[in-house]
């Protein structure tokens, strides 16, 4: 992945297996280019807002979409979502929650915070693959939209 090209998808996921499976599924569905993986909530915030997250320095990057795991080390997914949707600079970035549970409270909280979509990671990989395929379609639609 060339460094000079802007990141288009930010995958925030701490489980390496899930990272590989997600990347594999994305690649199979031809949305593999310019994906940045970060391993916890803090890294995700640093990536988007820069090290000094309050100033918005030159290191900040704006992905076109965020795939966000709910349960993350350090700063959890809901907090990352809250920060993204609470900041006018990042509010318009679509965020898709990935979670391994169908816990209702998680879903309700996420929608309260303004999540754009929600995918329950099924144990059945086929279902996950299907979810990613639909995500790919979604992504292509998003990519055509004049966001920048």
């Amino acid at each position: 992945m060339p460094d000079n090209e802007p990141v288009e998808i930010l995958l925030v996921e701490d489980n390496p297996n899930d990272v590989d499976l997600a990347l594999h599924a994305l690649k199979k569905n031809k949305v593999s280019n310019r994906i940045q993986v970060v391993r916890d909530g803090e890294e995700a915030l640093d990536f988007i807002f820069g090290k000094d997250s309050s100033s918005g320095g030159p290191s900040e990057q704006r992905p076109k979409m965020v795939l966000l795991d709910l349960k993350l080390p350090k700063v959890d997914g809901l907090e990352v979502l809250r920060r993204l949707k609470g900041d006018p600079r990042t509010r318009s970035i679509p965020v898709i929650m990935l979670t391994s549970s169908g816990e209702e409270s998680d879903i309700v909280k996420s929608y309260d915070l303004g999540v754009n979509s929600y995918i329950v990671k099924p144990v059945d990989f086929q279902q996950f693959s299907e979810a990613v395929r639909q995500l790919g379609l979604y992504w292509m639609v998003m990519n055509q939209a004049p966001i920048q």
Binding site: D18, L21, L70, K71, S100, S101, F125
Partner: protein, 578 residues
């Protein structure tokens, strides 16, 4: 201050550290008793005073009446003596010294007036010259030493003498009324003496009603007994000094006194009234115990009444204090229980929170490795199948199936634990609509099967619709699952009224089960069929039972192998009219 506030204040005083505060309780008893005792004492003494005054004044009135009557009698005797002594012929005979002839004129007087014992004439010097009825041995004797002579000769006015024993036999008690006899020129020529029998004259005193053991005594001006029921007038003349009532009553007054008899018997109430002019006295005597018997009886009743009032107010005070203290004590107990309960529920809440956190992380973390197992197996199967033998591919499929099964197990277990913890949100539920909705949803998944399913008009119920839906989902899923091998699956949802209780049921014509194992049916992870035959985790019926129990209902099943199964359940709070 309201009654409640007052009683709370009292309770604060009465109960300290959940124990009865005895000094305060005793003080309150005294405060309640004091007015009763005070009032009782006041009323007692007041009543006693009044009753005493009444009894005394009654007896004083008797003494007054006796004195007045006596005065009238003595006045009359004096009048008689004066009128006898002023007869012209009589006066003339006396002045001429014809004593015998003079006395003959008055001969009929003792016969006309029976209280006259006899009557006699004496000279101005007190020498007796004539008498009727005649007693020969007294004529010519000088009686100047007698009281009647001294009395009448003092001013030559009519005079009532003191009581004395008559000189002649039988010697009974008499007194004399002496009147001077005058000549025409006013000089004293003689004395007319009427001797009066005291018992005859004072007969009436015996008839005065004084009350039990009470009597009237008449004494003369020197205190000698004229009439006394205990001392007959024929006997020895009793001197006044022996009778305290006489001795101690002032001569010229009226009044009352409590006197102790010299003989040391009982105390007596004595009232007296002196007779004006004559100086005699009427005395009313009665033992104190008799005189005040009525008073004491009334006072006794009064005291009894007050004792009763005191007792009743004590009892009332006791009941009120007991009520207040016990209520406070039970309030304290309830408060302690509530506190314990609050502590307990805090603990339970904490435990629940912990459990929630636990199952949350189980649901996330336990599934992650399963996802990896399934995902990578899937990639192997999809993209590297050519490098694996047929058997190897089969094993990989088995790996995937098991991963999926375990995921299902985790899901079911989480559902089960969530249902146990979630608070019940009860509301009115149209049970029939709920069952139909579930049936329709499940029917859509049964591709190509012949199904004959019906839902009767079920009574509505009070319950948590989400949890009740889970009940129908699980029961109907089972019904569909175990009728899979039937050509036509028959499923019936209905209700019966058994002893006024609504019983819902779900019946099928499926595989059924042996009733021998019915007790294992509702336990978690307990299955009556092998999973190769009928898939499942063994949590569904456990969930159903948990939901039914949380609604306060019961669940049971009837079945036979290959004859279908019927599941019955009740829910508390069923609206029988709906």
């Amino acid at each position: 201050m309201t009654f409640k506030a007052l009683s709370d204040e009292l309770a604060n005083l009465l109960v300290k550290d959940n124990k009865k505060n005895w000094p305060v309780i005793v003080a309150i008893f005294l405060i309640i008793l004091f007015p009763v005792i005070f009032l009782a004492a006041l009323t007692y003494f007041k009543s006693r005073q009044e009753a005493t005054a009444f009894a005394v004044s009654q007896r004083q009135a008797i003494a007054y009446l006796a004195a007045t009557t006596l005065k009238e009698k003595l006045d009359r005797l004096t009048d008689i003596s004066v009128s006898l002594a002023s007869r012209v012929r009589f006066r003339q005979l006396v002045s001429e010294g014809k004593w015998e002839e003079a006395v003959q004129i008055l001969k009929s007087v003792p016969k006309d007036f029976p209280f006259f014992d006899r009557l006699f004439l004496s000279g101005p010097d007190g020498t007796l010259w004539a008498d009727t009825p005649a007693l020969l041995d007294v004529r010519g004797k000088n009686f100047a030493s007698r009281d009647w002579y001294r009395g009448v000769s003092q001013n030559w006015k009519p005079y009532v003498s003191e009581v004395y024993q008559r000189a002649a036999q039988p010697r009974y008690n008499v007194f004399a009324v002496a009147a001077p006899i005058t000549a025409e020129d006013g000089s004293i020529t003689g004395i007319l003496v009427l001797q009066v029998k005291v018992d005859f004259l004072l007969q009436w005193t015996k008839n005065i009603e004084v009350g039990p053991n009470g009597f009237v005594v008449i004494v003369d001006r020197r205190g000698k007994i004229a009439a006394h029921p205990k001392f007959p007038p024929q006997g020895e003349l009793v001197t006044y000094s022996k009778i305290p009532a006489v001795q101690k009553s002032p001569r010229e007054d009226k009044g009352a006194a409590h006197l102790s008899n010299l003989l040391g018997r009982e105390e007596e109430l004595v009232t007296y009234q002196s007779v004006p002019v004559y100086g005699w006295r009427a005395i009313v005597e009665q033992p104190v115990s008799d005189a005040f018997a009525a008073r004491d009886e009334n006072l006794k009743r009064l005291l009894t009444a007050y004792a009763l009032i005191g007792l009743i107010s004590c009892a009332l005070a006791y009941l009120i204090l007991r009520f207040i203290t016990e209520r406070r004590q039970s309030e304290n107990e309830i408060r302690n229980l509530n506190k314990n309960l609050a502590d307990r529920s805090l603990e339970v809440e904490a435990a629940n929170k912990e459990l929630e956190a636990f199952s949350y992380s189980v649901s996330h973390d336990l599934r992650a490795p399963l996802r990896a197992v399934d995902g990578f197996s899937r990639i192997l199967l999809d993209e590297h199948a050519s490098q694996l033998s047929e058997q190897g591919q089969g094993f990989l499929r088995r790996v995937r199936e098991n991963a999926v099964n375990m995921g299902q197990l985790i899901d079911d277990l989480l559902t089960f634990s969530r249902l146990s913890r979630q608070p019940l949100k009860k509301q009115n539920v149209v049970t029939a609509d709920l069952a139909r909705q579930v049936l329709d949803e499940l029917k859509q998944e049964q591709n190509g099967r012949r199904i004959d399913a019906s839902v009767a008009d079920l009574p509505q119920c009070e319950g948590d619709p989400k949890l009740l839906k889970q009940v129908f989902v699980n029961l109907l899923s089972n019904a569909f699952k175990y009728t899979r091998k039937r050509e036509v699956a028959r499923i019936e949802v209905g209700s019966e009224n058994i002893n006024g209780e609504t019983v819902y049921f779900v019946k099928d014509n499926g595989a059924g089960f042996n009733m021998k194992y019915a007790d294992k049916l509702f336990a978690v992870f307990q299955r009556l069929h092998r999973s190769e035959e009928y898939e499942g985790t063994g949590v569904g019926l456990a969930i159903v039972q948990r939901v039914v129990h949380r609604h306060g209902g019961r669940i049971w099943a009837e079945a036979a192998i290959d004859k279908g199964a019927s599941f019955y359940f009740t829910l508390d709070g069923v609206n029988a009219h709906a």
